[in-house]
Protein backbone atom coordinates (compact mmCIF):
# COMPACT_ATOMS: atom_id res chain seq x y z
CA UNK A 1 0.00 0.00 0.00
CA UNK A 2 1.55 3.27 -1.10
CA UNK A 3 -0.23 5.87 1.05
CA UNK A 4 -3.21 5.95 3.31
CA UNK A 5 -5.77 8.72 3.80
CA UNK A 6 -6.78 7.64 7.23
CA UNK A 7 -9.64 9.16 9.12
CA UNK A 8 -10.14 8.53 12.82
CA UNK A 9 -13.65 8.39 14.28
CA UNK A 10 -15.60 6.83 17.13
CA UNK A 11 -16.36 3.17 16.50
CA UNK A 12 -19.97 2.46 15.50
CA UNK A 13 -22.02 -0.62 16.29
CA UNK A 14 -21.85 -1.57 12.61
CA UNK A 15 -18.06 -1.78 12.89
CA UNK A 16 -18.27 -4.60 15.42
CA UNK A 17 -17.27 -7.59 13.27
CA UNK A 18 -14.26 -5.88 11.72
CA UNK A 19 -13.42 -4.37 15.13
CA UNK A 20 -13.39 -7.79 16.80
CA UNK A 21 -11.30 -9.17 13.92
CA UNK A 22 -8.58 -6.66 14.74
CA UNK A 23 -8.97 -7.22 18.49
CA UNK A 24 -8.40 -10.95 18.00
CA UNK A 25 -5.31 -10.26 15.91
CA UNK A 26 -3.98 -8.10 18.76
CA UNK A 27 -4.75 -10.71 21.42
CA UNK A 28 -3.01 -13.38 19.30
CA UNK A 29 0.00 -11.10 19.01
CA UNK A 30 0.07 -10.77 22.81
CA UNK A 31 0.01 -14.57 23.00
CA UNK A 32 3.15 -14.67 20.87
CA UNK A 33 4.96 -12.72 23.57
CA UNK A 34 3.60 -14.42 26.68
CA UNK A 35 1.68 -17.66 27.17
CA UNK A 36 -0.43 -16.02 29.89
CA UNK A 37 -2.10 -14.09 27.08
CA UNK A 38 -3.29 -16.85 24.78
CA UNK A 39 -6.32 -15.58 22.85
CA UNK A 40 -9.56 -17.36 23.68
CA UNK A 41 -10.65 -18.24 20.15
CA UNK A 42 -13.60 -20.29 21.49
CA UNK A 43 -15.24 -17.27 23.07
CA UNK A 44 -15.63 -15.18 19.95
CA UNK A 45 -19.33 -14.48 20.69
CA UNK A 46 -18.58 -13.40 24.24
CA UNK A 47 -15.78 -11.16 23.04
CA UNK A 48 -18.06 -9.68 20.38
CA UNK A 49 -20.76 -8.91 22.96
CA UNK A 50 -18.22 -7.33 25.30
CA UNK A 51 -16.82 -5.01 22.67
CA UNK A 52 -20.29 -4.16 21.39
CA UNK A 53 -21.07 -2.94 24.91
CA UNK A 54 -17.82 -0.99 24.92
CA UNK A 55 -18.67 0.71 21.64
CA UNK A 56 -22.13 1.63 22.95
CA UNK A 57 -20.85 2.96 26.28
CA UNK A 58 -19.33 6.18 25.06
CA UNK A 59 -19.33 7.75 28.52
CA UNK A 60 -16.95 5.26 30.10
CA UNK A 61 -15.22 3.83 27.06
CA UNK A 62 -13.59 5.62 24.15
CA UNK A 63 -13.59 3.23 21.19
CA UNK A 64 -11.91 4.59 18.10
CA UNK A 65 -11.24 3.29 14.61
CA UNK A 66 -8.84 4.44 11.91
CA UNK A 67 -10.52 3.96 8.54
CA UNK A 68 -9.99 4.48 4.86
CA UNK A 69 -12.71 3.69 2.32
CA UNK A 70 -14.80 2.12 5.06
CA UNK A 71 -12.07 -0.35 5.89
CA UNK A 72 -10.68 -0.38 9.44
CA UNK A 73 -6.90 -0.23 9.53
CA UNK A 74 -6.49 0.45 13.25
CA UNK A 75 -8.37 0.66 16.51
CA UNK A 76 -8.07 1.90 20.04
CA UNK A 77 -10.12 1.23 23.13
CA UNK A 78 -9.50 3.40 26.17
CA UNK A 79 -11.38 3.31 29.46
CA UNK A 80 -12.22 6.42 31.45
CA UNK A 81 -11.30 5.48 35.00
CA UNK A 82 -11.98 7.28 38.24
CA UNK A 83 -8.97 7.58 40.57
CA UNK A 84 -10.80 7.83 43.86
CA UNK A 85 -7.69 8.35 46.02
CA UNK A 86 -5.56 10.37 43.63
CA UNK A 87 -5.45 13.68 41.90
CA UNK A 88 -6.36 14.31 39.18
CA UNK A 89 -9.52 12.26 39.63
CA UNK A 90 -9.74 10.74 36.18
CA UNK A 91 -7.48 9.03 33.72
CA UNK A 92 -7.89 7.54 30.26
CA UNK A 93 -6.41 4.03 30.23
CA UNK A 94 -5.56 2.66 26.80
CA UNK A 95 -6.30 -1.07 26.87
CA UNK A 96 -6.33 -2.00 23.20
CA UNK A 97 -4.34 -0.46 20.37
CA UNK A 98 -3.81 -2.34 17.14
CA UNK A 99 -2.76 -1.33 13.65
CA UNK A 100 -3.02 -3.64 10.63
CA UNK A 101 0.44 -4.64 9.32
CA UNK A 102 0.23 -2.69 6.07
CA UNK A 103 -0.81 0.49 7.90
CA UNK A 104 2.12 0.38 10.31
CA UNK A 105 4.91 2.96 10.17
CA UNK A 106 2.40 5.32 8.57
CA UNK A 107 1.52 7.43 11.63
CA UNK A 108 -1.83 5.70 12.22
CA UNK A 109 -1.01 5.12 15.90
CA UNK A 110 -0.37 8.81 16.42
CA UNK A 111 -3.61 9.74 14.63
CA UNK A 112 -5.53 7.50 17.03
CA UNK A 113 -3.71 9.01 20.01
CA UNK A 114 -4.39 12.57 18.80
CA UNK A 115 -8.09 11.78 18.58
CA UNK A 116 -8.01 10.29 22.07
CA UNK A 117 -6.24 13.37 23.45
CA UNK A 118 -8.94 15.59 21.91
CA UNK A 119 -11.60 13.52 23.62
CA UNK A 120 -9.71 13.82 26.91
CA UNK A 121 -9.50 17.59 26.49
CA UNK A 122 -13.27 17.76 26.03
CA UNK A 123 -13.68 15.80 29.25
CA UNK A 124 -10.90 17.70 31.08
CA UNK A 125 -8.92 14.49 31.63
CA UNK A 126 -5.20 15.14 31.85
CA UNK A 127 -3.74 11.72 32.66
CA UNK A 128 -3.37 9.01 30.04
CA UNK A 129 -2.03 5.54 30.78
CA UNK A 130 -1.52 2.46 28.63
CA UNK A 131 -1.79 -1.17 29.66
CA UNK A 132 -0.08 -3.96 27.73
CA UNK A 133 1.72 -7.26 28.39
CA UNK A 134 5.18 -6.64 29.82
CA UNK A 135 6.81 -8.84 27.19
CA UNK A 136 5.17 -7.02 24.27
CA UNK A 137 8.31 -5.21 23.23
CA UNK A 138 6.61 -3.55 20.27
CA UNK A 139 4.12 -1.81 22.58
CA UNK A 140 6.88 -1.02 25.06
CA UNK A 141 8.99 0.63 22.35
CA UNK A 142 6.01 2.52 20.94
CA UNK A 143 4.92 4.07 24.22
CA UNK A 144 8.46 4.77 25.40
CA UNK A 145 9.22 6.53 22.13
CA UNK A 146 6.27 8.90 22.55
CA UNK A 147 7.15 9.84 26.11
CA UNK A 148 5.19 7.43 28.29
CA UNK A 149 7.01 6.07 31.34
CA UNK A 150 6.48 3.04 33.51
CA UNK A 151 4.21 3.97 36.43
CA UNK A 152 3.31 0.59 37.87
CA UNK A 153 3.80 -3.12 37.57
CA UNK A 154 1.45 -6.09 37.52
CA UNK A 155 3.03 -9.40 38.49
CA UNK A 156 1.52 -12.74 37.59
CA UNK A 157 2.09 -16.48 37.60
CA UNK A 158 0.25 -19.68 36.86
CA UNK A 159 -0.70 -21.75 39.91
CA UNK A 160 -0.56 -25.51 39.46
CA UNK A 161 -3.42 -26.71 41.69
CA UNK A 162 -2.57 -30.36 41.18
CA UNK A 163 0.91 -29.94 42.69
CA UNK A 164 -0.10 -29.54 46.36
CA UNK A 165 -3.27 -31.53 46.18
CA UNK A 166 -3.54 -34.03 49.06
CA UNK A 167 -5.01 -37.41 48.20
Amino acid sequence: MKSLKIEVRHAEETDIDEFVGLIMRMKRLNGEFDSLFIANEQNRDGIRNYYLKCIKDREKIISLVAVENNKIYGLMKAEVRERISYLPNYEARIIDLYIMPEARRKNVGNLLLDFLYQEMRKRKITVVTAEFPALNLIALNFYTKIGYREIGKVFGKTIDHTENKKE
Binding site: M1, R25, R28, L29, E32, F33, M100, P101, E102
Partner: protein, 444 residues
Amino acid sequence: MNNEERTQQFNKLAVEYSRYFKGKIRNYPNVPVSSINDFSYWYTPGVAEVSRVINKNPEESLELTGRWNSIGIITDGTRVLGLGNVGPEAAMPVMEGKAMIFNLFGGVNAVPLPMRVSSKEEFIKVAMALEPSFGGYNLEDIESPKCFFILKELQQKLAIPAWHDDQLGTACIILAGLINSLRIAGKKIEDATVSLIGSGAANIAAAHLMIEAGFKPQNIIMVDSHGILEPEREDLDKIMISNPWKYDLALVTNGERRKGDIKESMHGTDVVVSAAKSQPGLIKPEWVKNMEKDPAIFALANPLPEIWPDDAKAAGAKVVATGRSDFPNQINNSLVFPGVFRGVLDARSKGVNFRIMVKASYEIANYVKDPTPDHIVPTMGDWELYPRVASSVAVATVEEKLARKVDSKEGYYRTASEIIRVNRENFEKMMKMNIVEQLPEVNK
Protein backbone atom coordinates in the same frame (compact mmCIF):
# COMPACT_ATOMS: atom_id res chain seq x y z
CA MET B 1 21.20 -49.44 -11.44
CA ASN B 2 18.23 -47.23 -10.55
CA ASN B 3 18.39 -43.84 -8.78
CA GLU B 4 17.93 -45.35 -5.34
CA GLU B 5 20.62 -47.98 -5.88
CA ARG B 6 23.00 -45.37 -7.27
CA THR B 7 22.46 -43.15 -4.22
CA GLN B 8 23.14 -46.07 -1.89
CA GLN B 9 26.34 -46.84 -3.77
CA PHE B 10 27.51 -43.21 -3.41
CA ASN B 11 26.66 -43.26 0.29
CA LYS B 12 28.72 -46.40 0.81
CA LEU B 13 31.71 -45.07 -1.13
CA ALA B 14 31.57 -41.73 0.71
CA VAL B 15 31.95 -43.44 4.08
CA GLU B 16 34.68 -45.83 2.91
CA TYR B 17 36.73 -43.12 1.17
CA SER B 18 36.33 -40.80 4.15
CA ARG B 19 37.58 -43.53 6.47
CA TYR B 20 40.59 -44.02 4.19
CA PHE B 21 41.58 -40.38 3.63
CA LYS B 22 40.55 -39.10 7.08
CA GLY B 23 39.77 -35.56 5.99
CA LYS B 24 39.35 -33.78 2.66
CA ILE B 25 41.76 -30.87 3.23
CA ARG B 26 45.13 -30.38 4.92
CA ASN B 27 47.77 -27.68 5.49
CA TYR B 28 51.24 -27.37 4.03
CA PRO B 29 53.78 -24.60 4.65
CA ASN B 30 53.57 -21.92 1.99
CA VAL B 31 57.18 -20.75 2.32
CA PRO B 32 60.52 -22.41 1.49
CA VAL B 33 62.25 -24.12 4.40
CA SER B 34 65.62 -25.49 3.28
CA SER B 35 67.38 -25.50 6.62
CA ILE B 36 66.85 -24.68 10.26
CA ASN B 37 68.25 -21.20 9.54
CA ASP B 38 65.07 -20.36 7.62
CA PHE B 39 63.16 -20.39 10.89
CA SER B 40 65.02 -17.21 11.87
CA TYR B 41 62.64 -15.18 9.72
CA TRP B 42 59.64 -17.49 9.46
CA TYR B 43 59.69 -17.88 13.21
CA THR B 44 61.85 -16.44 16.00
CA PRO B 45 63.47 -14.03 16.24
CA GLY B 46 62.39 -12.35 12.97
CA VAL B 47 58.67 -13.06 13.26
CA ALA B 48 58.49 -10.70 16.24
CA GLU B 49 59.07 -7.77 13.91
CA VAL B 50 56.18 -8.88 11.72
CA SER B 51 54.03 -8.92 14.87
CA ARG B 52 55.21 -5.39 15.75
CA VAL B 53 54.28 -4.14 12.25
CA ILE B 54 50.81 -5.68 12.53
CA ASN B 55 50.44 -4.38 16.08
CA LYS B 56 50.96 -0.84 14.76
CA ASN B 57 48.48 -1.41 11.92
CA PRO B 58 46.23 -4.49 12.25
CA GLU B 59 45.21 -4.17 8.57
CA GLU B 60 48.74 -5.36 7.75
CA SER B 61 47.60 -8.80 8.91
CA LEU B 62 45.89 -8.97 5.51
CA GLU B 63 49.25 -8.54 3.74
CA LEU B 64 51.82 -10.19 6.01
CA THR B 65 49.93 -13.38 6.89
CA GLY B 66 47.67 -15.83 5.12
CA ARG B 67 44.62 -14.04 6.50
CA TRP B 68 43.97 -12.32 3.15
CA ASN B 69 43.14 -15.65 1.49
CA SER B 70 41.60 -17.49 4.45
CA ILE B 71 37.93 -17.78 5.21
CA GLY B 72 36.07 -19.57 7.97
CA ILE B 73 33.19 -21.85 7.01
CA ILE B 74 31.11 -21.43 10.11
CA THR B 75 28.10 -23.50 11.09
CA ASP B 76 26.25 -24.73 14.14
CA GLY B 77 25.06 -27.80 12.27
CA THR B 78 21.38 -26.96 12.80
CA ARG B 79 20.28 -27.47 9.21
CA VAL B 80 22.71 -29.70 7.42
CA LEU B 81 21.66 -30.56 3.84
CA GLY B 82 18.31 -32.31 4.08
CA LEU B 83 19.32 -33.97 7.36
CA GLY B 84 18.22 -31.20 9.74
CA ASN B 85 19.87 -30.53 13.09
CA VAL B 86 22.66 -33.13 13.18
CA GLY B 87 25.07 -31.09 15.31
CA PRO B 88 28.50 -29.61 14.65
CA GLU B 89 30.50 -32.86 14.51
CA ALA B 90 28.22 -34.33 11.86
CA ALA B 91 28.36 -31.05 9.93
CA MET B 92 32.13 -31.38 9.50
CA PRO B 93 32.18 -33.64 6.41
CA VAL B 94 29.88 -31.20 4.60
CA MET B 95 32.00 -28.20 5.62
CA GLU B 96 35.13 -30.04 4.49
CA GLY B 97 33.49 -30.67 1.11
CA LYS B 98 32.64 -26.99 0.84
CA ALA B 99 36.22 -26.05 1.76
CA MET B 100 37.44 -28.33 -1.01
CA ILE B 101 35.23 -26.62 -3.62
CA PHE B 102 36.32 -23.18 -2.36
CA ASN B 103 39.92 -24.22 -2.86
CA LEU B 104 39.63 -26.02 -6.19
CA PHE B 105 37.46 -23.42 -7.94
CA GLY B 106 38.38 -20.22 -6.16
CA GLY B 107 41.88 -20.81 -4.83
CA VAL B 108 40.53 -19.88 -1.39
CA ASN B 109 41.91 -21.41 1.81
CA ALA B 110 38.70 -22.25 3.58
CA VAL B 111 38.77 -23.57 7.15
CA PRO B 112 35.78 -25.66 8.25
CA LEU B 113 34.61 -24.43 11.65
CA PRO B 114 31.56 -26.25 13.01
CA MET B 115 30.82 -24.71 16.40
CA ARG B 116 29.07 -26.05 19.48
CA VAL B 117 26.95 -23.03 20.35
CA SER B 118 23.56 -22.88 22.01
CA SER B 119 22.19 -19.57 20.77
CA LYS B 120 22.48 -17.10 17.94
CA GLU B 121 24.11 -14.64 20.33
CA GLU B 122 26.80 -17.18 21.17
CA PHE B 123 27.30 -17.93 17.48
CA ILE B 124 27.81 -14.23 16.77
CA LYS B 125 30.18 -13.88 19.73
CA VAL B 126 32.40 -16.74 18.52
CA ALA B 127 32.44 -15.41 14.96
CA MET B 128 33.35 -11.94 16.22
CA ALA B 129 36.13 -13.38 18.36
CA LEU B 130 37.68 -15.25 15.42
CA GLU B 131 37.49 -12.33 12.97
CA PRO B 132 41.25 -11.53 13.24
CA SER B 133 42.03 -14.94 11.74
CA PHE B 134 40.06 -14.58 8.53
CA GLY B 135 39.45 -12.41 5.48
CA GLY B 136 35.81 -13.50 5.29
CA TYR B 137 33.16 -15.85 6.62
CA ASN B 138 30.96 -18.28 4.78
CA LEU B 139 27.97 -19.20 6.93
CA GLU B 140 26.60 -22.61 6.17
CA ASP B 141 23.73 -24.90 7.10
CA ILE B 142 22.17 -22.75 9.84
CA GLU B 143 18.44 -23.12 10.46
CA SER B 144 16.00 -20.41 9.39
CA PRO B 145 15.14 -17.77 10.59
CA LYS B 146 18.19 -17.84 12.90
CA CYS B 147 20.41 -17.59 9.82
CA PHE B 148 18.91 -14.18 8.94
CA PHE B 149 19.59 -12.70 12.39
CA ILE B 150 23.16 -14.04 12.43
CA LEU B 151 23.96 -12.83 8.92
CA LYS B 152 22.52 -9.37 9.56
CA GLU B 153 24.41 -8.96 12.83
CA LEU B 154 27.69 -10.19 11.39
CA GLN B 155 27.39 -8.01 8.30
CA GLN B 156 26.88 -5.00 10.54
CA LYS B 157 29.57 -5.79 13.08
CA LEU B 158 32.43 -7.35 11.10
CA ALA B 159 35.02 -5.58 8.97
CA ILE B 160 35.24 -8.64 6.69
CA PRO B 161 32.56 -10.04 4.36
CA ALA B 162 29.96 -12.38 5.85
CA TRP B 163 28.07 -14.53 3.36
CA HIS B 164 25.39 -17.14 3.99
CA ASP B 165 25.60 -19.37 0.99
CA ASP B 166 22.21 -21.05 1.47
CA GLN B 167 20.66 -17.60 1.12
CA LEU B 168 22.98 -15.45 -0.91
CA GLY B 169 24.70 -18.00 -3.13
CA THR B 170 21.40 -19.55 -4.10
CA ALA B 171 19.77 -16.15 -4.64
CA CYS B 172 22.66 -15.09 -6.89
CA ILE B 173 22.44 -18.09 -9.18
CA ILE B 174 18.63 -17.91 -9.27
CA LEU B 175 18.89 -14.29 -10.43
CA ALA B 176 21.49 -15.20 -13.06
CA GLY B 177 19.15 -17.91 -14.38
CA LEU B 178 16.18 -15.53 -14.37
CA ILE B 179 18.11 -12.88 -16.31
CA ASN B 180 18.75 -15.31 -19.15
CA SER B 181 15.30 -16.91 -18.98
CA LEU B 182 13.72 -13.50 -19.48
CA ARG B 183 16.16 -12.67 -22.28
CA ILE B 184 15.11 -15.87 -24.08
CA ALA B 185 11.43 -15.05 -23.66
CA GLY B 186 12.00 -11.41 -24.73
CA LYS B 187 10.66 -10.10 -21.42
CA LYS B 188 11.92 -7.26 -19.24
CA ILE B 189 12.78 -7.57 -15.57
CA GLU B 190 10.69 -4.53 -14.66
CA ASP B 191 7.59 -6.08 -16.29
CA ALA B 192 8.10 -9.67 -15.16
CA THR B 193 5.69 -11.25 -12.72
CA VAL B 194 7.05 -13.92 -10.42
CA SER B 195 5.67 -16.59 -8.13
CA LEU B 196 8.10 -17.66 -5.42
CA ILE B 197 6.97 -20.95 -3.94
CA GLY B 198 8.49 -21.67 -0.55
CA SER B 199 9.54 -18.88 1.78
CA GLY B 200 12.66 -20.33 3.29
CA ALA B 201 16.11 -18.78 3.43
CA ALA B 202 16.83 -19.14 -0.30
CA ASN B 203 13.60 -17.66 -1.65
CA ILE B 204 13.51 -14.83 0.89
CA ALA B 205 17.03 -13.85 -0.12
CA ALA B 206 16.12 -14.33 -3.79
CA ALA B 207 13.15 -11.96 -3.42
CA HIS B 208 15.32 -9.27 -1.83
CA LEU B 209 17.99 -9.71 -4.52
CA MET B 210 15.41 -9.65 -7.32
CA ILE B 211 14.01 -6.38 -5.98
CA GLU B 212 17.55 -4.97 -5.89
CA ALA B 213 17.94 -6.08 -9.52
CA GLY B 214 14.84 -4.20 -10.67
CA PHE B 215 11.94 -6.62 -10.28
CA LYS B 216 8.95 -4.69 -8.98
CA PRO B 217 8.04 -5.90 -5.48
CA GLN B 218 4.35 -5.71 -6.30
CA ASN B 219 4.95 -8.14 -9.21
CA ILE B 220 6.32 -10.81 -6.87
CA ILE B 221 4.00 -13.23 -5.09
CA MET B 222 5.41 -15.36 -2.30
CA VAL B 223 3.87 -18.58 -1.07
CA ASP B 224 4.68 -20.46 2.11
CA SER B 225 3.18 -23.56 3.70
CA HIS B 226 0.09 -21.54 4.71
CA GLY B 227 -0.54 -20.06 1.27
CA ILE B 228 0.12 -16.75 -0.47
CA LEU B 229 1.76 -14.10 1.67
CA GLU B 230 -0.33 -10.93 1.91
CA PRO B 231 -0.65 -8.20 4.52
CA GLU B 232 -4.02 -9.30 5.88
CA ARG B 233 -3.06 -12.89 6.55
CA GLU B 234 -4.06 -13.87 10.08
CA ASP B 235 -0.60 -15.16 11.04
CA LEU B 236 1.31 -12.10 9.88
CA ASP B 237 2.02 -10.78 13.39
CA LYS B 238 3.50 -14.14 14.29
CA ILE B 239 5.71 -13.92 11.19
CA MET B 240 6.68 -10.36 12.19
CA ILE B 241 8.17 -11.70 15.42
CA SER B 242 9.67 -14.94 14.15
CA ASN B 243 10.88 -13.81 10.72
CA PRO B 244 10.98 -10.05 10.12
CA TRP B 245 12.56 -10.55 6.67
CA LYS B 246 9.59 -12.58 5.47
CA TYR B 247 7.23 -10.09 7.13
CA ASP B 248 8.80 -7.15 5.27
CA LEU B 249 8.31 -8.99 1.99
CA ALA B 250 4.69 -9.78 2.85
CA LEU B 251 4.03 -6.05 3.11
CA VAL B 252 5.64 -4.96 -0.16
CA THR B 253 4.98 -7.90 -2.50
CA ASN B 254 1.73 -9.11 -4.04
CA GLY B 255 0.42 -5.76 -5.23
CA GLU B 256 -2.77 -7.45 -6.43
CA ARG B 257 -3.44 -8.74 -2.90
CA ARG B 258 -3.94 -12.22 -4.30
CA LYS B 259 -5.07 -14.85 -1.82
CA GLY B 260 -4.86 -18.60 -2.13
CA ASP B 261 -2.12 -21.13 -2.64
CA ILE B 262 0.42 -22.25 -5.26
CA LYS B 263 -2.13 -22.53 -8.05
CA GLU B 264 -3.45 -19.00 -7.55
CA SER B 265 0.05 -17.58 -7.18
CA MET B 266 1.12 -18.97 -10.56
CA HIS B 267 -1.86 -17.75 -12.56
CA GLY B 268 -0.70 -15.37 -15.30
CA THR B 269 2.88 -15.03 -14.03
CA ASP B 270 6.02 -15.17 -16.17
CA VAL B 271 8.23 -17.08 -13.76
CA VAL B 272 7.95 -19.63 -10.98
CA VAL B 273 10.85 -20.16 -8.62
CA SER B 274 10.08 -23.05 -6.31
CA ALA B 275 12.33 -23.95 -3.42
CA ALA B 276 9.77 -25.95 -1.53
CA LYS B 277 9.12 -29.65 -0.98
CA SER B 278 11.01 -32.36 -2.81
CA GLN B 279 7.81 -33.67 -4.29
CA PRO B 280 7.07 -33.99 -8.02
CA GLY B 281 3.44 -32.98 -8.53
CA LEU B 282 3.57 -30.10 -6.08
CA ILE B 283 3.40 -27.93 -9.22
CA LYS B 284 0.77 -29.27 -11.58
CA PRO B 285 1.13 -29.05 -15.38
CA GLU B 286 -2.30 -27.43 -15.70
CA TRP B 287 -1.10 -24.58 -13.48
CA VAL B 288 1.86 -24.09 -15.84
CA LYS B 289 -0.64 -23.87 -18.70
CA ASN B 290 -2.33 -20.95 -16.93
CA MET B 291 0.87 -18.93 -16.77
CA GLU B 292 1.91 -16.17 -19.20
CA LYS B 293 3.31 -17.13 -22.60
CA ASP B 294 6.79 -18.69 -22.55
CA PRO B 295 7.05 -19.06 -18.79
CA ALA B 296 10.16 -20.13 -16.91
CA ILE B 297 9.89 -22.80 -14.20
CA PHE B 298 12.68 -23.15 -11.65
CA ALA B 299 11.83 -26.30 -9.68
CA LEU B 300 14.76 -26.35 -7.31
CA ALA B 301 13.90 -28.90 -4.61
CA ASN B 302 16.43 -31.70 -4.26
CA PRO B 303 16.61 -34.56 -4.89
CA LEU B 304 13.21 -34.53 -6.62
CA PRO B 305 11.98 -31.31 -8.30
CA GLU B 306 8.46 -30.02 -7.67
CA ILE B 307 7.58 -30.82 -11.30
CA TRP B 308 9.57 -32.99 -13.72
CA PRO B 309 11.14 -30.92 -16.51
CA ASP B 310 9.41 -32.95 -19.25
CA ASP B 311 6.01 -32.34 -17.68
CA ALA B 312 6.69 -28.63 -17.34
CA LYS B 313 7.86 -28.38 -20.96
CA ALA B 314 4.85 -30.31 -22.20
CA ALA B 315 2.63 -27.84 -20.35
CA GLY B 316 4.24 -24.92 -22.15
CA ALA B 317 7.29 -23.94 -20.10
CA LYS B 318 9.95 -22.29 -22.26
CA VAL B 319 12.76 -22.74 -19.74
CA VAL B 320 12.98 -25.30 -16.96
CA ALA B 321 15.73 -25.29 -14.37
CA THR B 322 16.29 -27.68 -11.47
CA GLY B 323 18.83 -28.28 -8.74
CA ARG B 324 20.03 -31.48 -10.44
CA SER B 325 23.05 -32.05 -12.63
CA ASP B 326 21.31 -34.68 -14.76
CA PHE B 327 18.93 -32.13 -16.33
CA PRO B 328 19.82 -28.98 -18.29
CA ASN B 329 20.09 -25.71 -16.32
CA GLN B 330 21.34 -26.78 -12.93
CA ILE B 331 20.84 -23.93 -10.46
CA ASN B 332 23.94 -24.59 -8.44
CA ASN B 333 25.45 -22.10 -5.99
CA SER B 334 28.90 -23.62 -6.58
CA LEU B 335 28.90 -21.38 -9.67
CA VAL B 336 28.76 -18.38 -7.35
CA PHE B 337 30.64 -18.65 -4.06
CA PRO B 338 34.17 -19.50 -5.29
CA GLY B 339 34.24 -16.45 -7.58
CA VAL B 340 32.50 -14.15 -5.10
CA PHE B 341 35.01 -14.97 -2.37
CA ARG B 342 37.96 -14.77 -4.77
CA GLY B 343 36.74 -11.25 -5.59
CA VAL B 344 36.13 -9.98 -2.05
CA LEU B 345 39.43 -11.45 -0.85
CA ASP B 346 41.46 -9.96 -3.70
CA ALA B 347 39.92 -6.57 -2.92
CA ARG B 348 40.45 -7.16 0.83
CA SER B 349 36.80 -6.11 1.07
CA LYS B 350 35.17 -5.09 4.32
CA GLY B 351 31.84 -6.56 3.26
CA VAL B 352 29.45 -7.80 0.59
CA ASN B 353 25.91 -6.64 -0.19
CA PHE B 354 22.98 -7.11 -2.58
CA ARG B 355 24.28 -4.54 -5.07
CA ILE B 356 27.53 -6.47 -5.37
CA MET B 357 25.56 -9.68 -5.73
CA VAL B 358 23.54 -8.27 -8.62
CA LYS B 359 26.82 -7.60 -10.44
CA ALA B 360 27.89 -11.19 -9.79
CA SER B 361 24.58 -12.50 -11.16
CA TYR B 362 24.91 -10.45 -14.35
CA GLU B 363 28.48 -11.66 -14.84
CA ILE B 364 27.29 -15.27 -14.55
CA ALA B 365 24.35 -14.64 -16.90
CA ASN B 366 26.56 -12.83 -19.44
CA TYR B 367 29.05 -15.68 -19.36
CA VAL B 368 26.51 -17.66 -21.38
CA LYS B 369 27.00 -15.95 -24.73
CA ASP B 370 23.89 -17.18 -26.52
CA PRO B 371 21.47 -18.45 -23.91
CA THR B 372 19.03 -21.10 -25.07
CA PRO B 373 16.18 -22.78 -23.19
CA ASP B 374 18.57 -25.61 -22.30
CA HIS B 375 21.52 -23.39 -21.47
CA ILE B 376 20.77 -20.43 -19.19
CA VAL B 377 23.64 -20.80 -16.71
CA PRO B 378 27.25 -22.03 -16.98
CA THR B 379 28.37 -25.35 -15.54
CA MET B 380 31.01 -26.02 -12.89
CA GLY B 381 33.51 -27.03 -15.57
CA ASP B 382 33.51 -23.49 -17.00
CA TRP B 383 36.79 -22.54 -15.32
CA GLU B 384 36.88 -19.12 -16.90
CA LEU B 385 33.70 -18.19 -15.02
CA TYR B 386 35.31 -17.93 -11.58
CA PRO B 387 37.91 -15.20 -12.29
CA ARG B 388 35.29 -13.30 -14.26
CA VAL B 389 32.88 -13.34 -11.34
CA ALA B 390 35.76 -12.50 -9.01
CA SER B 391 36.80 -9.41 -10.99
CA SER B 392 33.19 -8.17 -11.27
CA VAL B 393 32.70 -8.60 -7.55
CA ALA B 394 36.03 -6.96 -6.69
CA VAL B 395 35.24 -3.92 -8.86
CA ALA B 396 31.81 -3.71 -7.23
CA THR B 397 33.43 -3.63 -3.77
CA VAL B 398 35.49 -0.64 -4.97
CA GLU B 399 32.30 1.10 -6.15
CA GLU B 400 30.73 0.36 -2.78
CA LYS B 401 33.80 1.79 -1.01
CA LEU B 402 34.37 -1.53 0.74
CA ALA B 403 37.67 -2.45 -0.93
CA ARG B 404 40.94 -2.01 0.96
CA LYS B 405 42.97 -2.94 -2.12
CA VAL B 406 41.87 -1.09 -5.25
CA ASP B 407 42.63 -2.29 -8.76
CA SER B 408 41.09 -2.17 -12.24
CA LYS B 409 38.76 -4.90 -13.46
CA GLU B 410 41.57 -6.20 -15.67
CA GLY B 411 43.95 -6.13 -12.72
CA TYR B 412 41.57 -8.01 -10.47
CA TYR B 413 40.92 -10.49 -13.27
CA ARG B 414 44.65 -11.17 -13.73
CA THR B 415 45.08 -11.66 -9.97
CA ALA B 416 42.13 -14.01 -9.67
CA SER B 417 43.07 -16.00 -12.78
CA GLU B 418 46.63 -16.43 -11.57
CA ILE B 419 45.66 -17.53 -8.06
CA ILE B 420 43.08 -20.02 -9.32
CA ARG B 421 45.38 -21.34 -12.07
CA VAL B 422 48.42 -21.81 -9.82
CA ASN B 423 46.36 -23.39 -7.08
CA ARG B 424 44.76 -25.78 -9.53
CA GLU B 425 48.06 -26.69 -11.17
CA ASN B 426 49.64 -27.31 -7.77
CA PHE B 427 46.81 -29.62 -6.87
CA GLU B 428 47.10 -31.47 -10.18
CA LYS B 429 50.88 -31.84 -9.58
CA MET B 430 50.22 -33.23 -6.11
CA MET B 431 47.83 -35.76 -7.60
CA LYS B 432 50.31 -36.74 -10.33
CA MET B 433 53.07 -37.14 -7.73
CA ASN B 434 50.70 -39.15 -5.56
CA ILE B 435 51.10 -36.63 -2.70
CA VAL B 436 47.34 -36.65 -2.93
CA GLU B 437 46.64 -40.34 -3.33
CA GLN B 438 44.37 -41.89 -5.91
CA LEU B 439 41.08 -43.37 -4.74
CA PRO B 440 41.67 -46.73 -3.10
CA GLU B 441 40.11 -49.91 -4.42
CA VAL B 442 37.02 -50.65 -2.42
CA ASN B 443 34.51 -53.38 -2.72
CA LYS B 444 31.86 -51.63 -4.81
